[in-house]
Amino acid sequence: MSLLELSGVTRSVVLPDDRTLEILRGIDLTVDAGEHVSIVGRSGTGKSTLLNILGLLDAPTSGEYVLDGVPIGRLSGRARARRRGTDFGFVFQQFNLLQGRTALENVVAPLLYARGRQFWQRRTLAAEMLERVGLGDRLDTRPEKLSGGEQQRVAIARALVRVPRVILADEPTGALDVDTGSEVMDLLDTIARENGSALIAITHDLAVASRAARQFRLAEGVLTPIAISARSAGSLGALGAPGGQPSGPGADPGAAGHPAESGDDQAEHVARPLVPAHGAAPGEGDAA
């Protein structure tokens, strides 16, 4: 049985002028425990919306989402929140660390929502986790005193401290330089593997995407399996969108690289599909 399974999931919103905007269209996706999956796509294609649905921060308009054999639609808001805390760890592009708190306090924060040993031994567990990400000597340092790479390490420690079954990474290297990004992804891969957690990363960076065992492209709300080799990893433009410019109707050229694309005002900025794998239907002609 898969760890999580999306079947025909759609997500649409009603705009102020009463038009309906379809952000996700018939998404089918299965992810097994411990699997590494990446999803690439241009800004405004619905990647974050998909990630939010996977992480139980948002609900599909239609379709079914089964997590560990349990249809999510049947869970109450409280139960969804509980599963979000126990089963998912989020890594954000902008780190989203809590300001004014030390690295240790940031990693302790998710454990305040835990129970039993995780709650009562939260400081010990958090310190151990920071040690694992190489920040054992920066426990009492506040985020503003840390480098970008260190901040993302703290964010990774925070995402993993409850040993989630799924790590959802939204552009985890988006705010980092190439080398630091690579180090962070190495760390994320390693710890996810050690913990047996599935890792789902959405990214613009094909090099990051190529690390995954399975890759998908999200374009115009449609999820398509693709294959990215380490050799071909480069920019999205190299995979069939010259100059990296989105080509969909109403595309926002300046939005490339921006992590947030699921909002009402941006959802129409859908990009054309990128490289489909093995002759998958949408956007086949754009394959590099």
């Binding site: 921060l57 929140a81 805390g85 708190r101 305040l112 929502y113």
Partner: protein, 403 residues
């Protein structure tokens, strides 16, 4: 359990991180709580002081005083002391009164080292001390055995000891009382002066007064009276019954029985107390409004953080509770501060100066006042936290994370 502890820890953490903001918001609350607590406590303390003073002077509730003065009609004369004693004993026995005391005031010529002085003596029985919350500060009060002493026992004030040359009760001082047939009395207990420059005075068992009471002094100070400590619910009935019995037993007298203790009264005038309390409540509400204002602005600034916490698994209920707890924990801290200041202030309150006489049993800080202050603090915290908590719950998680 972990949910509640976690929420409180979260709230405390938030307050710790934003100390200055919290401090500014809470000054008003702390001052108001301090005022409410202090006023409540002062009222309680002064009421307690005045109630004890009332007991001391007039007896505990309900104390009946029985007196029987000759009417003078038809040549009636004052009955002999023995007659009064017999009638009073019968009444005490008839109504099974647990605590009673005959009472007789009589001046006595006391031979001090510096000369004889007329000292006011109050004749009582051993129960009188219990009935009037009377306590000696050195030595002891009378016992039934003192009635058999050849040397009458005296309980005197400090001025009396000073007049004896500054002796202490431990030295078992004696003093000669009386004119033609003097007796040597022994001081067995002492109590402080009721006011500065008080004259020497003494309590003595009423039977022992016979040694120096003369018919002339009786004419001047009147016949002995009787005090009865009775259950409050029986007091009204007993007034009529005892009056009837005394009038029947002693001829030619006007028997009077009345309730001697007076109901409690607040030393702080009720209206003033209400005004000060009203002002404090308004101050508390204004402090709470300030808190609401700052909390609302803060929630706006904390939208992203709320979103992040939702990604940790915080349910909307938990977010609501946490934001509300921030306010409650903050005002609780302010409450503790306010109550502490009130306790310190009232501990140093010059009660003697306020009451106009020395307060022997200084009342402790009333727990009820501290509870009132803390309830007010927690209540205003909950009220002030309600609106920001509702706003926090309405935050859309996805927007919050992107904020």
């Amino acid at each position: 359990m972990t949910g509640i502890v976690g929420s409180v820890l979260e709230a405390w953490d938030e307050l710790r991180v934003h100390k200055v903001r919290v401090l500014l918001a809470l000054v008003g609350v702390a001052v108001a709580v301090c005022a409410i607590t202090a006023i409540s406590a002062a009222g309680e303390m002064l009421r307690q002081v005045s109630a004890e003073q009332n007991d001391r002077w007039n007896g505990r509730a309900a104390t009946l005083q029985v007196s029987a003065w000759p009417t003078g009609e038809g040549g009636s004369v004052m009955p002999a002391p023995e007659e009064y004693e017999q009638v009073f004993d019968e009444i005490v026995e008839r109504y099974s009164v647990g605590y009673s005391s005959m009472l007789r005031n009589a001046p006595a010529p006391v031979r001090f080292p510096e000369g004889t002085r007329e000292v006011y003596t109050t004749g009582v029985e051993p129960d009188w001390a219990t009935m009037h919350r009377f306590e000696v500060t050195s030595g002891r009060w009378f016992t039934d055995a003192d009635a058999d002493r050849l040397s009458p026992a005296l309980v005197v004030n400090q001025a009396f000891l000073d007049a004896l040359g500054g002796v202490s009760v431990a030295e078992h001082p004696t003093v000669t009382i009386g004119g033609d047939n003097p007796v040597v009395a022994t001081v067995v207990g002492a109590y402080p002066d009721a006011w500065p420059q008080a004259e020497p005075e003494a309590y003595v068992l009423v039977g022992a007064q016979a040694a120096w009471v003369t018919p002339e002094s009786l004419e001047m100070t009147g016949p002995p009276s009787l005090e009865l400590w009775v259950p409050e619910e029986l007091a009204d009935d007993l007034v009529g019954l005892v009056q009837r019995d005394v009038a029947g037993a002693l001829s030619g007298v006007q028997a009077d029985v009345f309730r001697f203790d007076s109901p409690d009264y607040a030393s702080v005038d009720g209206a003033i107390r209400l005004v000060v309390l009203g002002v404090s409540v308004i101050a508390l509400l204004l402090g709470g409004l300030g808190l609401v204002n700052i909390a609302l602005v803060t929630v706006r600034y904390r939208i992203r953080e709320i979103g992040i916490r939702r990604s940790f698994g915080a349910s909307s209920g938990r977010v609501f509770f946490s934001v509300m707890m921030e306010s409650v924990v903050a005002t609780t801290v302010a409450g503790v501060l306010g109550v502490t200041v009130a306790v310190v202030a009232l501990h140093n309150l010059p009660l003697d100066a306020l009451m106009g006489y020395p307060v022997q049993d200084r009342p402790g800080f009333p727990l009820s006042a501290a509870v009132t202050g803390m309830v007010a603090a927690v209540g205003i915290g909950a009220l002030a936290g309600l609106l920001p908590a509702l706003v926090a719950v309405r935050v859309k998680v996805i927007d919050a994370i992107r904020y």
